[in-house]
Symmetry: C2
Subunit: 338 residues, 2 copies
């Protein structure tokens, strides 16, 4: 059963574990430094589908099938699936999941979805509401560019602060296996708005939310950044990561020595022309499920705070002059249970 | 603490209660049979805002403020808010809620969002994860027409099976007041796809999901439709409601005597030119929070199954030839606790 530590932070007393997980990624990701960690690498981002949106659905289908398979599970073993994505009306998820027949709770957390879904799946499992629950999300570069910016065919120029939406997906299944990685706690974020209006600088819009959630969690648990091997944000990229460190420094919280960002890990920023780094739901999802969880399982990392951030805007609201609110949810992962 | 009855159905043993709730609605709804039940009626659907999307955000702002006010509560009393809407990237919710500072879990359940959010808020409260949790959603006719069909200025023709998106919102706060309405159980739906491709016949796309969820709940609880005063769907409208009754009849489940639909209640179908009835997240939300909850509180209804359905498509997927998957979540409301 979960113990409430403060308003938004829960200690998951039964230490649910990630009994299986999988990650898939696209062509550009297969040329990056984490390539060898993904379960499936697509050499063609079309993934044999007619449209980018169908390709994204196919990734969710593939990654959930892979996670089930690696855990020797079938869809019937999963009580609930928590999932969502960036596409309008989250259609990547709906079409990707429709054949599984798992009771489904649809989420929209923008790029925070991997953390949001993992928080909820872990809470459900910790409280006996689910024996096993699935958490999943995805993003696709070409579908995202078309929807949020311009169709690729336009050949639009990218600003230096722009990030590159990861083509990838991650899926984890939470249960109680008695083996790491364990989920020891979660903290749910609040919507935070610092007045950023630049759609090409999402990192800056999301960094304040990450700072707020991390502070809330550290206060609640009475821990310091150095109590963790890694504080991993989802897709702040170069600009947002620097801003997060600066915002926290002002409050005497120093995270530079333990902070990293999935958007900085997944590509080689020097050679891959991704400007400020990777972004998208699939960025945090694929790096967490492909790279980080195994490192916790192996004991390379002992305690990791995974914090995925989301920019809660739409192209329409930005055109209407609105600022970009952000949110960040946090999951405390560990190689030892409570 | 919740008791799992079957894979997707939970008995909420502590009988959480809806300690406050509010509903707001627009001009057309103010001319319908339920007008007197809404807390706020907007005579101008622009609600003093520059755009329809901002007007929808304003409704969420108003309805949450009203629900807090009616319950003598402030935003600081709420541990978590579960909310979403129909707009791309759920921006009605994000901009409507950003000033409240409540830990936020964003949902996308299309028109099932009122049931999905109420399920999660009730589960959290039942298990001590929240002392008080908020569930909310909205829809706006003009914003929806522009996004899903055509901008109003085009003057497009409507087919007889088309429904009219309700301009309205509903918000409930779940806690433990020891007074009705109580939430006694919930059942989470599965994605169901019967191959419907007609974007103007959403009721038909969603009815199979409603049939599936209702059957699952009745089986799990060993109850019959006549054990309830009202089985209330969210926005199946005339076509979808008839189809739901027929689908269940084939399995010897007779619900006609106790079934009604929020989309049939909110408008006078004969005089209001809404074709097959009301639709949208705000349809189920405003009718539940404006009309039905008070009737349970007063003991007019003893046991109500509220089941909101969602069509999990986007205009893009329909244009790409995809069928329309549906989902339905169910909440058992009662005037007496367990």
């Amino acid at each position: 059963m979960s113990q409430k530590i403060n308003r938004s932070t829960l200690k998951l007393s039964s230490s649910p574990s990630l009994i299986s997980y999988a990650a898939v990624a696209g062509k550009k990701e297969s040329e990056g430094p984490l390539a060898s960690y993904f379960d499936i690498l697509y050499q063609d981002n079309g993934i044999g589908q007619e449209t980018w949106e169908k390709a994204e659905s196919m990734m969710q289908k593939d990654v959930s099938a892979k996670a089930l398979d690696k855990g020797n599970l079938s869809a019937g073993d999963i009580d609930f699936v928590f999932a969502g994505d960036l596409l309008n009306q989250c259609v990547g998820t709906h079409y990707g999941l429709r054949e599984l027949g798992i009771p489904f709770l649809g989420l929209y957390g923008a790029c925070s979805t991997m953390a949001e879904s993992l928080c909820l799946a872990s809470i459900f499992t910790d409280n006996g509401l689910a024996e096993k629950a699935m958490a999943m999300t995805s993003s696709h570069f070409c579908a995202s560019e078309r929807q949020f910016r311009f169709p690729l065919e336009y050949g639009g120029q990218r600003t230096p602060t722009a990030q590159w939406t990861v083509t990838g997906a991650g899926c984890t299944i939470v249960g109680h296996s008695g083996t790491p990685p364990y989920v020891k706690g979660v903290s749910i974020g609040k919507i935070t708005d610092f007045g950023i209006t630049d759609i090409n600088n999402m990192g800056a819009a999301m960094a304040p939310a990450a700072a707020d959630t991390l502070k809330t969690f550290l206060n609640a648990t009475g821990t310091a950044p150095t109590d963790y091997d890694l504080i991993l944000t989802g897709d702040l990229g170069k600009v947002g990561s620097e801003l997060l460190c600066e915002l926290l420094e002002k409050e005497n919280i120093e995270i530079r020595s333990v902070h990293n960002d999935c958007g900085l890990l997944i590509y080689d920023l020097k050679s891959q022309d991704v400007h400020a780094g990777g972004s998208g739901c699939g960025c945090g999802a694929s790096v967490l499920c492909g790279y980080v969880l195994d490192k916790i399982k192996q004991g390379v990392y002992h305690d990791v705070l995974f914090m995925a951030t989301g920019a809660l805007m739409s192209p329409l609201t930005v055109q209407q002059g609105e600022t970009i609110p952000g949110i960040a949810h946090l999951v405390h992962l560990s190689d030892t249970p409570w």
